[in-house]
Amino acid sequence: MKRRRGRGAGREGEGEFRRRSLSAAVQLAINNVTKERGVIFNSISQSDAINEAADLSKYTFHEALNPHMTSGAVGRYAFAKFGKKVAFLTADYAYGHEMVRGFLEVGKEFNIENLGDIRHPLGTTDFSTLLPRLQALKPDILCISNFGRDQQIALKQATDFGIKKSIQIIAPLLSHASRVAAGPQAFEGVVGGCSFYWGIEDKFASTKAFNDAFRKMYDGKLPTDYGALGYGGVRTVLEAVKGAGSVETNKVVAALEALKYDYYKGPQYYRKCDHQSVQSVLVIKSKSKDMKNESDVFEVLSTEEPNEKYLRTCEALGHKS
């Protein structure tokens, strides 16, 4: 049977579930099985590996951003604005490594100076032994590439150590749930990226429509980044099935490849060679005051429009033209 596995659609604001069920590892595991069995899978978790030829499945689509796009957008914004001396604090696993690789790649264009990259084990709960070292490097920018609870604790403790006084902290991805779980204090002033923020409803009719439908369904609540991703992951497959007029795998795949869609965040499409969704990346900053409602946690600083030039090329990913 062909079914999408956009896990987590409609399950809002559950940080733990996201970290576990939507980790890149789980995504790659599902990808491996769906590839073997010829099942369509639309993934909503970040990974660069899933685009690469070694893991590529013709049945897998990637609705989420990938680390290369995310770090690229945030890097282009931050390196132009906050300075060239950059230190990195990175979770020691694929997600962290891929993010840093992306930052360093885009950093070349800005001639950034890499002061050092401190790798911390996944699941670190105390950064007090790493922060003094980073502070001593005296960077303009501290780039913290980790996710979930690691990110929440790192930002909280960096705040306690007074790092924000002289250093701009950036993070590749700021998730709505993490910001809510860690509180405004810890995230204050941090700049990062995301794929969706409800606040872009002024800009896109599709966002407005999605938000309104969501509000109606969940008594006034607003969708988060991953809520929207889950929705996007299911909606695209659904529309492709409608378009193909069939649930036969190969026809649905063809319909997905041909899809040009705007369901919740402006125009998107899946690139042919790796099925990566070409889409916009939002650069956002965490708010700590003047919040209009409980979902009003970020301010959109800039938007990087969808463009294949921000993706790694098909050749670089190992695809044959």
Partner: protein, 291 residues
Amino acid sequence: MAGLSFDLIALQLFAGLALGAIYVLFAIGLSLIFGMLTVVNFAHGAFYMVGAYVGLYLISIGGNFWICLVAVPIAIGLFGLAVERVLIRPLYGRGIDYPLLLTFGLSYVMVECVRIAFGKTGYPFDTPEVLQGAVDIGVGYFPLYRLFVIGATAVVLLALWLFLEKTSFGLIIRAGARDPQIVRVLGVDVSRVWLIVFGIGTAIAGFAGLLAAPLQGVIPEMGGTILAEAFVVTVVGGMGSIGGAVLAGLLVGVVVSMTSLFAPEMAKVSIFALMAIVLIVRPQASSAAPD
């Protein structure tokens, strides 16, 4: 990477000791319970986590951090008393594995109950206003709150020491740990002693959880990581030795800190390697030790 200045190494050493203080505070309850009761409390992390949540709840209904400092250990201690009386007591004399396995199951139940009551997502826990910010300690800036944690740990240790060494009840506890049979023959209700020791141990766990909350926020799984670390501290210090736990806690803190400086990605595995080495080379861990 930039060169290593003297200040940085000194600050790093200090950060290690400060981290060690947190380990000590958590491990001391574990060690106390093991030393007196020979119970390996796998639910210690869960008591720690519940302590943080009780603090969170008290603040949400209008309490403040200082009230919590008193109320949380009392609440968790009472809870610990109930657990000992109902679940642990039937297992005395049935071998060391049973309490271990029971508390392992209990930790699952406690974590899940908190998930049901408070949700799976974590909550922020603000540092009390007067303890916010960093202060200059001569070699660099260090968060004021962490200094407070060191002080609080010292106070708990002092109080525990006075209680065990200077009060008559403390004397009974120490005697009970050495030879419960004789103490019982002398007409002391040993089960009451064990009950209270378990209560004190869990109260300290709850207190440690509350103190940890402003450092990392609260989440149902927060007890898991520290439990593994505390086992290391307890084992390195010699199971059941309070003085040993203090030294071992500080040692582990410094080991983590120094590994962080030279090979940060190895910080977590370093403490397990330390424990494995200590266990393998130390004589009391081998066949001569009671089991």
